[in-house]
């Protein structure tokens, strides 16, 4: 008997029923009686001393009820708060603003429009200070010290390194061929279509409820309790429907805290919803890594060593939500799909006058930066050696029999079949035919390129011996309860922002419990009812909470087996779980379904046994998981305009066991589009005065349906040996792997002109300039 909606079935999503009717419940849809609105006064300067804030005119604006300033928060010890990396950030400044668009004051009014009127009426007198925008200059002696509150008077936040420095230096010196490249991955912003916001409300008993766009409601609750001194049982965080997160809804933004303060002071619920410009200009960014990489090989094309140095521009405080022991996240997955014997990575975090953040764009803790680096370098090296990039990769991949594989930088990869994925991609795209076509086109002066990216990424943080955020271990949880009529409800510590958990978690449980997924309700996001978890980001839900679901379900099965035995009047050892029911071994007709067992759990359970049928599991993953894939991108470049057109993009992904193929494919389509975006379109740039240029959708270009190609997807399946159902997670794979494939394709198209690298985004202007220079030369 197959269960309806089990693992591997492309069932339609349950959550769609409300979304297509416009009945989603997003934070801005929450309306409470007497609700007020909060809007924020923001600094036009990147670095300035605040001489005064005059709120007289603002208080006279009709509808304005209150204005909050830094000195008001200072009295309650709330002007500063910890970041998720144990640095500190301002809620509102008392003395100095540190980035353009920083929150300076908050206006509370009885309507959205009145609040905006109030903001314009607040008069702030600033004294501009010297701005630090270039992280290299920030490290030079004599640079203004941006954080005099720190013990060490330097703009270097931390230095982090891993690997064998001397061994790597030696290996590179002894290599026949070494290629060095400087790769700048610019700052970008994830801009989910829903911006951030919250509604904060205290009830008559002093309990605080906050509807919040957050990917990690429990962690937020605990942080609020510790920082604001509110008892944790009197705080309820509700993360309702979220319009996309991608990491941008993990940090604690000042607006949330201000709304809570305003609700406390006015005695009314307060709503804060940022607009798009505020979202782009002030909320957490991603990337901004200045990378210098060197890769070595023997004359006949065997990789020897990898050395990577990175300057990480973090903005004015370290608010990247990395696991605490890893300020550069999981960047040291940079050895990628290759068995380097020697490798060394060092990263220096730097303060600048920009908004804080670093990992808010579907990158699983700096894994995008790592995959981009290695796949670009491998390509460059192959070209230097005169080898075909596919052949070079095949020659060097970690072979399937080497797993579990311990990398030179300390990771134990669980499973992989890199040759299989690349082979499949090459077959689908007909790689040899493309190379022939390219050769012919090149003779005619036409520009066509083929780019490969064979990435390995690392997700599912993480085992408690190594991973924590602010001390909170990164387990995750599932709590299941089965009702007498055989239906079930399960709650999780994660929080979907579009990934389809209501459907996929039900599928895991359907498979494990033999109950139709239609009959299993899934809930997440309300800290009053959901078991504690660290939330959804870095593709961790399936590896952690998905595993917890399986384990909790198996705990239920253990109890159910005893009840079934009681009902069938046999010993529990006489039963086996087969075809989604408990059958007497050898007598399949003598069986009990979970529905029958559930009813009995409340009406006819064995004497001495507790009634009910429920279980909870807090899953501590034994390791991370390592999804991988091979992408091949074919581009044609318009010589007149420099425009890069993606003719074909084939993505072969391996995320282990697939729960819902339709949903996985959707994740890959979306992820690829978020890989195309930084490769060709997106960049956040600051001028020397710290002005963000292009802080709205007029200038910050998201891909539309016109730029986005028809993605082609395929899969291989190499289960994770340590996950209960062999699943690895897939949410970020495509964003991790795609940029290198696109850049490799463009460089490939222009390689015969001597091009070895182009920094992203590869705009038509950049390509046109290169073509112009090369033609002139």
């Amino acid at each position: 008997m197959t269960v309806h909606g089990g693992v591997g079935q492309s069932i339609k999503r349950k959550e769609d029923a409300r979304f297509v009717r416009g009945k989603g419940n997003y934070v801005d849809d929450v309306k409470l009686p007497g609700m007020l609105y909060l809007d924020i006064v923001r600094s036009p300067y990147a670095h300035a001393r605040i001489r005064s804030i005059n709120i007289e005119k603002a208080l006279k604006v009709p509808g304005v009820l209150a204005v909050i300033r830094g000195k008001d928060l200072e009295a309650a010890n709330l002007a500063w708060m910890p970041t998720l990396m144990s640095d500190k950030q301002m809620v509102l400044p008392v003395e100095r603003v540190m980035y353009q668009s920083q929150e300076v004051a908050a206006v509370v009014a009885d309507s959205r429009y009145a609040a905006a009127d109030g903001v314009v009426a607040v008069e702030v007198d600033y004294e501009p200070l010297p701005v630090v925008v270039d992280p290299m200059k920030a490290l030079e002696p004599g640079a203004p010290i941006l954080r005099p509150d720190r013990k060490e008077q330097t703009n270097r936040i931390w230095h982090w390194e891993v690997g064998d420095r001397e061994g790597t230096d030696k290996a590179l010196k002894e290599s026949d061929v070494v290629v060095k490249e400087n790769l700048y991955i610019p700052r970008i912003h994830v801009s989910s279509i829903e911006t951030c916001g919250c509604v904060a409300s205290f009830d008559a008993m002093g309990k605080l409820t906050v509807w919040m766009t957050t990917q990690a409601p429990h962690a937020i609750r605990t942080v609020f309790a510790l920082v604001a001194g509110l008892p944790e049982q009197k705080i309820r965080i509700i993360s309702p429907d979220i319009g996309g997160g991608f990491g941008g809804k993990v940090p604690v933004y000042p607006g949330y805290v201000l709304a809570v303060v305003a609700a406390l002071k006015t005695g009314h619920p307060v709503k804060w919803i940022e607009d798009r410009s505020e979202n782009i200009q002030a909320d957490s960014f991603a990337r901004d890594y200045h990378i210098s990489a060197e890769i070595g090989a023997t004359r006949d094309g065997k990789l020897t060593a990898l050395r990577v140095k990175t300057i990480a521009d973090h903005g004015y405080t370290d608010a990247a939500a990395n696991p605490s022991k890893f300020p550069a996240g999981l960047f040291h997955i940079v050895t990628g799909s290759y068995p380097f014997e020697k490798a060394h990575v060092e990263v220096d975090g730097v303060y600048t006058n920009k908004p804080p953040g670093g990992i808010a764009y579907r990158c699983s803790f700096r894994v995008t930066e790592a995959a981009f680096t290695i796949e670009r370098m491998v390509d460059s090296l192959a070209r230097k050696l005169g080898m075909d990039p596919a052949e070079f990769r095949m020659k060097n991949f970690i072979p399937p029999e080497a797993f579990p594989f311990k990398s030179a930088l300390g990771w134990e990869y669980d499973s992989g079949n890199y040759q299989g994925a690349l082979r499949k991609a090459m077959d689908i795209v007909d790689y040899d035919a493309l190379r022939k076509e390219q050769a012919e086109k090149r003779k005619r002066g036409e520009l066509m390129g083929i780019g490969i990216s064979s990435f390995t990424e690392i997700v599912g943080a993480g085992p408690s011996h190594t991973f924590d955020i602010l001390g909170l271990k990164m387990f995750d949880s599932c709590e299941i309860r089965i009702h007498p009529t055989g239906k079930a409800i399960a709650r999780f510590g994660t929080k979907s922002q579009g990934q389809g958990h209501e459907t996929t978690y039900a599928q895991i449980l359907a498979e494990e419990l033999g109950i139709s997924s239609e009959d299993i309700a899934i809930e997440e996001g309300d800290t009053d009812t959901a078991p504690y978890g660290l939330g959804t980001y870095a593709s961790r839900s399936t590896p952690t909470a998905g595993a917890a679901a399986s384990i909790a379900a198996r705990k239920i099965r253990d109890k159910a087996q005893k009840i079934a035995a009681h009902l069938l009047e046999v010993s529990p050892d006489d039963l086996e779980w087969k075809d989604h029911k408990f059958q007497v071994k050898g007598v399949p007709d003598k069986a009990k379904t979970m529905a029958e067992i559930a009813f009995a759990a409340y009406t006819n359970h064995p004497p001495g046994m507790e009634a009910g049928l429920e279980a909870v599991d807090y899953y501590d993953p034994p390791n991370l998981t390592y999804p991988f894939g091979s992408y091949i991108c074919v581009v044609d470049i318009d010589k007149e305009t420099g425009e890069v057109k993606i003719r074909r993009f084939v993505a072969v992904d391996d995320c282990g066991t697939i729960i819902n193929p339709m949903i996985v494919e959707g994740q890959i389509h979306g992820g690829l589009t978020m890989g195309l975006a930084p490769a060709l379109l997106e960049e956040i740039h600051y001028d020397e005065n710290g002005n963000m240029l292009g802080g709205s959708f007029m200038d910050y270009l998201l891909p539309t349906a016109v730029e986005t190609p028809k993605w082609e997807t395929a899969k291989t399946t190499t289960p994770s040996p340590h996950h209960p159902i062999g699943a690895k997670g897939v949410g970020e794979s495509a964003t991790v792997g795609a940029p290198a494939a696109i850049v490799n394709a463009v460089v490939d198209a222009l390689a015969h002109l001597g091009v070895t690298h182009i920094d992203i985004p590869i705009t038509p202007w950049k390509v046109w300039k290169i073509l112009h220079e090369k033609r002139a030369a």
Binding site: R21, G22, D28, K265, G498, G500, G666
Partner: protein, 178 residues
């Protein structure tokens, strides 16, 4: 923190107000709003139709797309007063008598949505497209929805959803309200 006094009702310093009457999804609705009220806020807050969403402040994202007298418009860039006396159709008006509109079916069947935030605007734009062009090519579809940004889906399945709706509406059982 300084608290101001609540303004009394009827304070003549608050902006001019106007009564706006519209027909929304076939039903007459009205409310009194400031003249500067955007249509999207009128819908969401005065009429409690929160299916239409706000995703940007520069008329780029299209999440606020509705039909005004049958034409797809971005309701964030229209004042409520401009809609006075006119016919509006929002996502809440797609379903009729408990039956989903083919475009809604298409989005479910083809997995054309993930977080759902861009979806209402995307569907309203699609309805307008299919009214004008019942058999669009893929290129025509992509161009028609190029004013609607989606961060989750990568558009491939959105195109399929619209094609699904087009086929359904052009078929024998596809008659009825477009």
């Amino acid at each position: 923190m300084v608290l101001a006094e609540m303004p009394s009702a009827g304070d003549e310093e608050t902006g001019p107000f106007v009564n706006v009457h519209v027909t929304v999804n076939g039903a007459p609705r009205s409310a009194t709003v400031e003249t500067r009220t955007l249509l999207v806020h009128f819908l969401r807050e005065n009429l409690s139709l929160t299916g239409t969403h706000i995703g940007c402040d520069t008329t780029n994202c299209g999440a606020c797309t509705i039909l005004l007298d049958g034409k797809a418009v971005k309701s964030c860039t229209i004042l409520a007063v401009q809609a006075d006396g006119r016919e509006l159709r929002t996502v809440e008006g797609l379903e009729t008598d408990g039956k989903l509109h083919p475009i809604q079916e298409g989005f479910i069947e083809e997995h054309g949505l993930q977080c759902g935030f861009c979806t209402p605007g995307m569907m309203m734009c699609s309805v307008a497209l299919l009214q004008k062009n019942p058999h669009p090519t893929e290129e025509q579809i992509r161009r028609a929805i190029s004013g609607n940004l989606c961060r989750c889906t990568g558009y491939v399945n959105i195109v399929k959803a619209i094609q699904h709706a087009a086929n359904k509406m052009a078929g024998p059982s596809g008659g009825g309200r477009p």
